[in-house]
């Protein structure tokens, strides 16, 4: 009797497991994304038709399923910075690109982001940068958020740098940044403070123009 009970109790678990694995398989194969039409994207971004074609071909070659998930993104970004560890910064970057926060970057996200970065006005670019730094997207950059970003950037440099990276270098950099940006000294940087300050800084303004023709 007991043996029969044991046998029967084992069976449903197996059936459930089989169901789960079927669902899992469906899920894996169902992750396919087709972007909106070319005309729509042309209207929404500032790329020409030809540019969009080139971009999409490259994107689709890399990600045949049409979306990039965070791990792939981290892998790709890490390849550009072989000396250091780019995964933390890639994580923040991923969140900045993934505007609808669904865990994957589709072609639209990708191309919208690029459109802002390459063809946007200075205001839009600064907006994007602010969005990147504001990790929890609450409209304020706190010192902790900035410190996280800064550490992530310095991580990308790796160990072998000149001069040798010290523990407090990111913190010092954050202090300098806040001294510059935080006008009312309330410990957080708002979007207006940020944009104002950047627009008055000629270094930043000059650098902004350099990234026009990346594509």
């Amino acid at each position: 009797m007991g043996a029969l009970m044991v046998i029967f109790s084992v069976q449903p678990k197996q059936r459930r497991k089989r169901q789960d694995s079927v669902e899992d398989e469906l899920e894996l194969s169902a992750v396919r994304h087709r972007p909106e039409g070319l005309e729509q994207l042309e209207a929404q971004t500032r790329f020409s038709r030809k540019e969009l074609q080139i971009l999409y071909r490259g994107f689709k070659n890399e990600c045949p399923s049409g979306v990039v998930n965070e791990d792939t993104f981290k892998d790709i970004y890490s390849q550009f910075f072989p000396q250091g560890d780019a995964s933390t910064y890639a994580h923040f970057l991923f969140n900045a690109f993934d505007t609808d926060h669904n865990g994957s970057v589709s072609f639209e996200d990708f191309v919208m982001g690029l459109s802002i970065l390459l063809r946007g006005s200075v205001q839009e670019k600064l907006n994007w940068a602010f969005n990147l730094y504001d990790i929890n997207k609450d409209g304020y950059i706190t010192k902790e958020e900035m410190l996280d970003i800064m550490k992530a950037i310095y991580d990308m440099m790796g160990k072998c740098t000149y001069p040798i990276l010290k523990e407090e270098t990111p913190r010092q950099h954050v202090e300098i940044f806040f001294q510059k940006m935080d006008k009312n000294k309330d410990g957080v940087v708002t979007i207006d403070e940020f944009i104002d300050c950047c627009q008055n800084d000629e270094n930043i303004m000059r650098s902004m123009q350099l990234f026009e023709n990346v594509i």
Binding site: I76, Q79, F80, L114, N203, L210
Partner: protein
């Protein structure tokens, strides 16, 4: 760089906008790509078969033939296509690699032809995808082994030795390869014969012969014809000793020879005889002497020199030692359990054989291996029950693992080989990945050293800088932007370790740190070597070592008037350095002030004014141990 990363580079560069508000310095200007950027379809004609592909597809792997400017050599102006006089079937796979990023090995193709094609198109075989990698490696190994066999069979063994080989070398060769000369062959067979004779003699001398006349007891033949056997034994041992000594003499490495298994067997085979000679005819000791004779049976192992099969068996046993060990262990466990149980079950019976647990071991072993001699049998009911359980489980415990072990022989053997292969491949792969990473970094550092970071317009730039692909330009620009953002620079392992050594000695004030860091970046335009010297000398975070300190005032040399050491003035001086960038050696001369080996222990030396133009060459290596303090004016 790995698969298709070139596609993502524009994106990574665009994302660099995120660094702009944080950067302490202005970003460098991006490289201008003079070539037309629009994508176009390329025609590739391979022995008549026309392929078409986007230019971007080929550009994804800039370090291969098709991805670099090397394909321009194959461009045919008349037909406006790239013509390759190679196998079109293979080219399909090559092109697929560009398209999908994975290189597949076509199973029906010859491995050597495939390798040659890969070499021609500049693709390293290591990027073959995992799906095809094992097959590729196996076939390659097979091919190599076959080639090696052929060459080996062709050369060494039957080929005549070089005429100037010593007698020793010839002797060794005769021992190792008996087929080389008739003398060696004769010796080989004679030794074999004597081994057989010796073994047979050992066996026969224990057989009972007819007794001597006048006695009834059966004698073993060894005692009846003791003289004859003794003579035979002596002859065999003499031959073996002679052989051993000759091998020892001829061996190229005597220590290695003496440690080898065969030599140990030889020694063990002949030792009992000599010990027997040496030992006196004492009744007490002769018992031990008789035991030693057992070792004479080891002479049979000498046959393994004559038989390949024995050697292979020994090797396989050795490689399956863990499996055998497990079998032994599980058997021991079962034996102990059952022996204990049987002992306690049979304890009550009078006159029982199961006197102790070790005594029960014998019963358990005989029962479990289904021998069943019957010299020990349980009498109680409990004993009989457990005895039957013991024999049933014996069947399971022994009969099951044995076929498994037999199949494990072949499986483990092949698996071991594959595991070693994989480990070696893994090591090679990791090493390649590390090298590629270092290669990328080194490329960037090299780029910096070649003055690629200067703002140049076309004509002045060095040829080596110009020849970099646009991908490399852009990638280096990206890395440069990161440097500017963080105000630190990439260096290589060597410099880093040197800096660590010097810095570990001591620290200076934070003020000096900021000074040095400012200076470090400002001199980035100068070549790395000069920069290193400048930084060493101006690096005030580095402190005293070996008691040699040199007060240095490099920058004062350029300016005649003494200036207060403020940040702005330092900046100004480094501007001067920047201007002098064209004449690199000149700059180096000004900055370098070599410390003489016999250092004065004085804390402050008067700053030695190095006249511009005096070239003082000191090896950059020496700077690893020289530390300098910046003078505070």
């Amino acid at each position: 760089m790995a698969a298709g990363v070139a596609t993502w580079l524009p994106f990574a560069r665009a994302a660099a906008v995120g660094w702009l508000p944080l950067a302490k310095k202005t970003m460098p200007k991006p490289p201008v790509d003079k070539k037309s950027r629009s994508d176009e379809i390329l025609f590739v004609n391979v022995s008549g078969l026309r392929f078409q592909t986007w230019k971007n597809t080929l550009d994804r792997y800039p370090d291969t033939l098709l991805g670099s400017s090397e394909k321009e050599f194959f461009y045919n102006e008349d037909t406006q296509e790239y013509f390759f006089d190679r196998d079109p079937e293979m080219f399909r796979h090559i092109l697929n690699f560009y398209r999908t990023g994975k290189l597949h090995y076509p199973r029906h193709e010859c491995i050597q032809a495939f390798d040659e094609e890969l070499a021609f198109y500049g693709i390293v075989p290591e990027i073959i995808g995992d799906c095809c990698m094992e097959e590729y490696r196996d076939r390659k190994k097979e091919n190599q082994e076959r080639l090696a066999e052929d060459t080996e069979a062709g050369e060494a063994t039957d080929a005549p030795l070089p005429p100037d080989s010593t007698a020793r070398e010839r002797l060794w060769r005769a021992f190792e390869n008996p087929h080389t000369s008739t003398m060696a062959l004769v010796f080989y067979y004679v030794t074999g014969f004597f081994i057989a004779v010796s073994v047979i003699a050992n066996v026969v001398e224990t057989v009972p012969c007819r007794p001597l006349k006048g006695s009834t007891k059966d004698l073993p033949c060894g005692e009846k014809y003791s003289l004859a056997f003794f003579c035979m034994d002596t002859a065999c041992v003499l031959i073996f000793t002679f052989e051993y000594l000759m091998r020892l003499f001829a061996a190229p490495s005597r220590c290695k020879f003496m440690r080898s298994v065969m030599s140990v067997i030889d020694v063990v085979a002949i030792m009992p005889y000599y010990i027997g000679l040496v030992m006196p005819e004492n009744e007490d000791v002769s018992g031990a002497f008789v035991t030693l004779r057992v070792f004479r049976v080891f002479r049979i192992f000498k046959f393994s020199r004559h038989s390949q099969g024995l050697r292979i068996l020994g090797y396989t046993l050795k490689s399956c030692a863990s499996e055998l060990g497990f079998l032994l262990f599980s058997l021991t466990m079962a034996i102990i359990i059952f022996a204990t149980v049987m002992f306690y079950a049979e304890k009550g019976t009078k006159g029982t054989n199961f006197t102790s647990i070790p005594a029960s071991f014998w019963y358990t072993i005989v029962t479990m291996t289904t021998l069943g001699y019957g010299d020990m049998v349980p009498n109680t009911i409990a004993g009989k029950i457990f005895g039957s359980i013991c024999s049933l489980s014996g069947v399971l415990v022994i009969a099951l693992p044995v076929p498994v072990i037999v199949s494990n022989f072949s499986r483990i053997y092949h698996q071991n080989q594959r595991a070693d292969k994989m480990r070696a491949q893994q090591k090679v792969r990791l090493a390649r990945i590390r090298m590629a990473k270092k290669g990328t970094t080194n490329a960037f550092l090299q780029y910096k050293e070649d003055g690629g970071l200067q703002d140049h317009d076309g004509d002045n730039s060095a040829l080596c800088v110009k020849n970099r692909s646009s991908f490399e330009h852009q990638h280096h620009h990206l890395l440069h932007c990161l440097e500017k953002t963080t105000n630190h620079e990439f260096t290589d392992e060597l410099t880093y370790s040197e800096m660590c050594m010097t810095e570990s000695v001591g620290y200076r004030t934070s003020r000096s740190t900021s000074l040095s860091s400012q200076q470090g970046v400002a001199t980035s335009c100068c070549p790395r070597r000069a920069k290193r010297r400048a930084i060493r000398l101006a690096n005030s975070t580095v402190s005293v070592s070996r008691g040699s300190v040199q007060e240095l005032d490099t920058l004062q040399i350029q300016k005649c008037s003494a200036r207060p050491q403020s940040r702005s003035s330092l900046n100004a001086r480094t501007e001067d350095l920047k201007l002098n960038c064209e004449d690199r050696d000149f700059t180096a001369a000004i900055i370098s002030i070599p410390t003489p080996p016999a250092n004065t222990p004085d804390e402050s030396l008067p700053p030695s004014p190095a006249m511009p133009g005096i070239l003082r060459n000191s090896r950059s290596g020496s700077y690893a141990h020289e530390t300098v303090k910046i003078s505070s004016l």
